[in-house]
Homo-oligomer: 355 residues x 2
């Protein structure tokens, strides 16, 4: 690695910003990108000089390994603007560490901190105007890495491209979310790549999710693939279950993504004196709790949606509607968390990092 | 679908063939591509006109779904030249059917036969000179499809690109192949995408394979991820075990690719009066057979390698060397199969299709 300081990032800035063409009040998630992106290539065992350049398509070989053997990983994080106009990241070192864990699991090179975090900060400084304030607004950050070597032979690539693209965002989900509990399909294997933020994991989810959508459900809660008895996580969210006044969430494992929102909510809940237990909840237990009325809430937790209350779940052709609770843990914890992220509450955890 | 005949394929041919630059005696697998490729885009719910054009890099959005959510599938097949100079495919309808099964599992559109098989034949006619004869030579054919819509939101793409690229090939493997029996890592989940030829499956294998390589083993034989007791398949090959004079191979399942070579070898073995049983072989059974001397052979079967004899296997730090057998089923069946493929034996099965 030659990159030692941010001065080592090559800058090639746009002559005309697109920002005035954007309607920030009517954004659909993940579709609009800012003026610039960061690109850094790994060639012959070395990371080259990163470059910040105008966001644009790039050329790639039809035989690039990413298209054939799926070496592709990513992260998802957000930047927030405070009242003074300063921009903040939320626990970025967590995403950086997880990205490199994903890289190892997919036999890809680890990205140096100067490129990932240093590059990210520099890029956001340049596109600072794209970070808006209020109403769930933020800048969604998508670092990713793909295998670029040519060759249709099933072995790891030699060359890779790391990129960061930025997308202005409002809140992710809208409307009621109903889920299906998986009883046949799975997203991850024991000893597989479920704990990595690998592109291939998502491709496994789309078809079962489409089947669920056709029945009027928006998401699936995945179960362990061996027995389909343990509740694990949703497509892009970890999941919490509130039974009576205790919150439960599955332990992370090789099959489950170690979500930053999940771990932050666990710490927040503890601080707020909400009982939280990290253990597998069984499907049977959930159904029983739904039947006897002790199941109060289910919610997803992830960077994009932050906290996403779930209105009901289906399991094997039975549907269970969740009660309307008065003091929702989901909404309470969401407010606590977004207040920290948006810098309107004290960040006693030291989670936020100023750019 | 508007494509009805091969006349509907747009031709944009190269002005200068690269063929004279290629040393066909010294090819490494999957690294050299012929003069042309086929490209066909799926846009707004419709397949557009396919185009055959010079093999070249293409441009794509950094936010294309394939890079983030892994919607990417492929096939691997070969074309062979007979003594008269005619070019033949081997059971191409099998690859076509499997491709569309993979497409369904990954929530991608099915490719019409006129585009997949029609396009393939037209492309190979144009690059016919690249198909060489003898010495394991063939033309490796790589149809694939990727998700091209822009947007970092975890849902299926609207747009897709189907492509076919061609690579002149010699035999795939060289040297002795020793394998490790997986006792922790896995390539596929129950209810997952293991039976699809999906890019994501391969990305899961590289890291464990790298660990195996470091210990002097070339490949891994995967086991079921729930118990690691059943032998399943290798990275790019189905696997056969010969115990005494019976061949065993695992049944195909949601976790295992339904290989064309595997099913052809089963039929060939039956014709040649070799006992073949389709059932799961347990790891314990394999170890016991290795110990008591009844294990005679293990071999992989796949398009690239055709048949690949395995010299020994490791399981949990014990290594078992396979005996040298006099009449190897692996080599016998390989010869029978390649003779059919190379059109030097009668094709009583009607497997070969002339282009
Ligand atoms: C599969 C999966 N689970 C959980 C999460 C939540 O993780 P985080 O809170 O770090 O965004 C994500 C990412 O958003 C995910 O893709
Ligand atoms: C995982 C896997 N198993 C088995 C095979 C063998 O299939 P086929 O004989 O159709 O090439 C392949 C493909 O080559 C494969 O990728």
């Amino acid at each position: 690695m030659e990159i030692k300081t941010l001065e080592d990032i090559k800058l090639n800035l746009t002559e005309r910003s697109k920002i005035n063409d954007i309607d920030f009040e009517n954004l659909s998630f993940g579709n609009v990108f800012t003026d610039h992106m960061l690109v850094c290539d790994f060639v012959n065992g070395q990371w080259k000089q990163p470059e910040i350049m105008p966001y644009a398509p790039f050329t790639i070989e039809p035989s690039a390994r990413v298209f054939h053997y799926g070496q592709a990983i990513f992260e998802g994080m957000k930047a927030y603007k405070d009242e003074a106009g300063d921009v903040w990241l939320f626990r970025p070192e967590q995403n950086f560490a997880r990205f490199n864990k994903s890289a190892v699991r997919l036999a890809m090179p680890e990205v140096p901190e100067e490129v990932f975090l240093g590059g990210l900060k520099k890029l956001i400084q340049i596109d600072k105007e794209w970070v808006k304030r209020g109403d769930g607004k933020s800048l969604y950050i998508r670092p990713f890495m793909i295998a670029t070597s040519s060759g249709v032979i099933a072995s790891p690539s030699n060359n890779y491209r790391f990129m960061i693209i930025l997308s202005p965002a409002k809140s992710y989900y809208s409307g009621e979310v109903k889920v299906v509990i998986a009883d046949h399909f799975s997203r991850a294997a024991n000893g597989g790549i479920g704990a990595a933020k690998a592109a291939g994991n998502y491709s496994a989810q789309f078809y079962p999710t489409k089947l669920a959508n056709e029945k009027g459900f928006q998401q699936i809660i995945w179960t362990d693939d061996a027995t389909h008895t343990k509740l694990e996580e949703a497509g892009t969210m970890n999941v919490f279950f509130r039974i009576n006044d205790t919150l439960y969430t599955a332990p992370t494992s090789e099959r489950i993504l170690d979500g930053v929102t999940r771990k932050s909510l666990i710490e927040l809940a503890k601080k707020e004196n909400i009982n939280v237990e990290v253990r597998s909840v069984l499907v049977d237990e959930l159904v029983a709790a739904a039947k006897d009325g002790s199941l109060k809430e289910i919610f997803g937790a992830g960077t994009a949606a932050v906290v996403n209350p779930i209105a009901g779940f289906a399991y094997k052709d039975e549907y269970f509607e969740l009660p309307k609770v008065e003091k929702s843990y989901a909404l309470y914890l969401k407010e606590k968390l977004t207040n920290i992220q948006n810098k309107v509450a004290d960040d006693t955890f030291n989670w936020t990092v100023k750019i």
